[in-house]
Amino acid sequence: MKPTRTLAALAMAALLTVTACGGGQTPAEQGPQPLRMTIWTSNEAHLKLFNEIAAEYKKTHPDVGAITFDSIPFESYTTTLTTQIAGGNAPDLAWVLENSAPDFVSSGALAPLKGELGKAQGYELADLTPAATKLWEQDGELYAYPFSTSPFGIFVNDDLVKKAGQKTPRELIEAGEWTWDNAVAMNAAVAKEGKAGLIVRDFDYKSWDNLASIWGGWGARAWSEDGKTCGFNSPEMLEAMTFLHKAIFVDKALPGPGTTVDFFAGDAAMTITQISRASLLDGAKFGWDLVPLPAGPKGDYAVIGQAGLGALKKSPNAAQAIDFLAFFTNPANSAKLAAYFPPPRASQLTTETLAKSNPLLKPEQLKEVVIDGIAKAVVKPSHIGQAELSQTVRAELDPLWKADADVKAVLDGVCAKIQPMIGA
């Protein structure tokens, strides 16, 4: 045998050994099949609740193997998930964040759910609010269950606000004066005292979609409803971003770029975030409140972040995964999950249901922020090809985060770059 042929044979043998490991058995032949769900939370309380629901499901479904919840860090969640899919290691079920919803829904990666959920006993599919399911639908079919519909609110450190000689946001709400102008003045006063003012959580001068919680007050949008026209150069956006730029660099009401401050450690007056972060205030050593977003020039508004739960179409256990999804999100379990994730079910969006599972929050806080918020909210920006769009917008917005920035020129620059990407 020639040496080259020997080498080729050796390489081929090694390859066959590796590929043979894949096996060719069908699920039925292999006995109980495990299910794996990727999620972004690693919070112990959340995981405990998930595991309890899974254990209950397994009692009536001995044909299902272990059900595991695979936590992936939030920052790299979608990248890790798609890499797993590319590597042939896709989960059976996956949380999908709102910013990648259009990509997942339109690509056909997720299995349709409407038929199975409609058939599930006592599921009450019609109870899901259309506002919550809108992002997860295409051509009348539902591709993910709107697992969490979480409005943005403002957590306030009342102690710091009072120490700076300011009225609390609660007092301003009662006086009908809870506006962005007053909120910025209040945060600027706290910042003068040495602590930080307002933090837009998770923004860090990079994740700009979180700014929707501010520019919504001006009626501004990243792009039009149909996603085809850039909204960054609209007069509303210019006004909102000019206001924000001044609040950061002139009033110093928000900590500038390159600084890290933790509201939950008591170092800042306020933070804009979603209510699921309330758990971080358990045992807080300062007086706090949760209030809705202040009114902008266009009046009251609300913004929500969403996460959907879908079954991967390609999973060999897709049918079983959908069955588990139907159990995991049925009315009884949805009520339990409401402790952390505001439910999409109209019947459960009541102060009573939410108060039962959110002991840290007062009924009026839940009503103002969650129930009223969901009713009028717009979802954070999302678009097909969001990751690339998001990265382009981030790069173009970078020059804005300097004291001498030309706001209009920067915003025009954003549209110059993204309009060709989104235009029909």
Binding site: A14, T78, T83, I85, G385, A395, P399, W401
Partner: protein, 312 residues
């Protein structure tokens, strides 16, 4: 009887004339068996992925939709027309040149300083080498905190009355920061290699030159540099190749920003493939990176005859 003898003779003759398992063949087989594990590893984990990358670069692979379509040279046409690529390659060149120049010169200076028989030399050698063994991500995260607007670096500058910049938010300062953080992490490795080379320079040559009236600089340029030139070649190849593969530092410190200022080629291909789901185009960028690394290494190898001692 005669027939039998004839057959035996023929068989013996054949055995003598052409035995298949000659000593040479057996020797070769043993040799191949010895290198087989390494060879199989290289084929499976180096050559096969390399071939697959080139194969993927001829396709459009939509991971979410699960489609994999042959598109021929489309990705290469896209590469030529990519409006961001020029800026990315410019940034990559700036990063690599900055890194290589700073790393090699600092490593050489440190090696010369630590090549003295003085008290405390061992301590300083250990000190400068220790970042090499520290976890890369931990090292970078600590530097991210130090380089913040209100971080340790500006705190130190403030103590001496200097108002430091927002290091990771300015286009130039972000690039400088990434280069310096990377140099400080790895300069110890090149320093050790230079130190070993310097200790191999015979002291008699220096003494003879000194007797002939050669100054410190002349002795360094005429004696030390030629004798350590093989090490300079080695370290420059390692550092150039390494500089094109710096990923974690960029991901942790700047995520390619501000703007595209620190988006080097490897980070750009990661974004294209894993964040934007353009796996085919990502593979095309990988092919470009491979070509650049191969060309630079080849050029350095060819140029060695001009300046590396013992190589002419």
């Amino acid at each position: 009887m005669t027939l039998t003898r004839t057959r035996e003779t023929t068989a013996t003759h054949r055995a003598v004339v052409s035995p298949y398992w000659t000593f040479r063949r057996r020797d070769n087989l043993v040799g191949y068996l010895f290198i087989a594990p390494q060879l199989v590893g290289s084929v499976l984990f180096v050559l096969l992925p390399l071939g697959l990358v080139l194969w993927y670069s001829l396709h459009e692979w939509n991971v979410l939709a699960g489609t994999f379509q042959f598109t021929g040279g489309d990705n290469y046409t896209k590469l030529l027309n990519d409006p961001k690529l020029g800026e990315v390659l410019g940034g990559t060149a700036m990063f690599s040149v900055g890194l290589v120049v700073l790393n090699l010169s600092l490593a050489l200076v440190l090696a010369i300083l630590l090549n003295q028989r003085l008290r405390g030399t061992t301590f300083f050698r250990t000190l400068f080498f220790s970042p090499v063994v520290v976890s890369l991500v931990a090292w970078t995260i600590v530097w991210r905190f130090l380089l913040q607007a209100d971080g340790g670096v500006n705190g130190l500058l403030g103590a001496v009355g200097v108002d430091g910049p927002n290091w990771l938010r300015g286009e130039t300062t972000a690039m400088v920061s990434v280069v310096v953080v990377q140099v400080l992490k790895n300069v110890g490795l090149n320093m050790v290699l230079f130190l070993a080379a310097l200790q191999g320079v015979p002291s008699q040559l220096h003494e003879a030159a000194r007797v002939d009236g050669a100054g410190v600089w002349t002795r360094f340029v005429r004696i030390t540099v030629p004798l350590i030139s093989p090490t300079i070649l080695l370290t420059s190849i390692i550092t150039v190749v390494g500089s094109l593969q710096v990923f974690a530092q960029i991901a942790v410190l700047t995520q390619g920003g501000p703007g595209l200022s620190t988006t080097v080629l490897i980070y750009y291909l990661y974004q294209q493939a894993f964040q934007f789901h353009h796996f085919g185009y990502g593979a095309t960028l990988s092919a470009l990176l491979f070509a650049i690394v191969a060309a630079l290494t080849f050029a350095q190898w060819r140029m060695r005859r001009k300046w590396v001692f013992h190589e002419s």
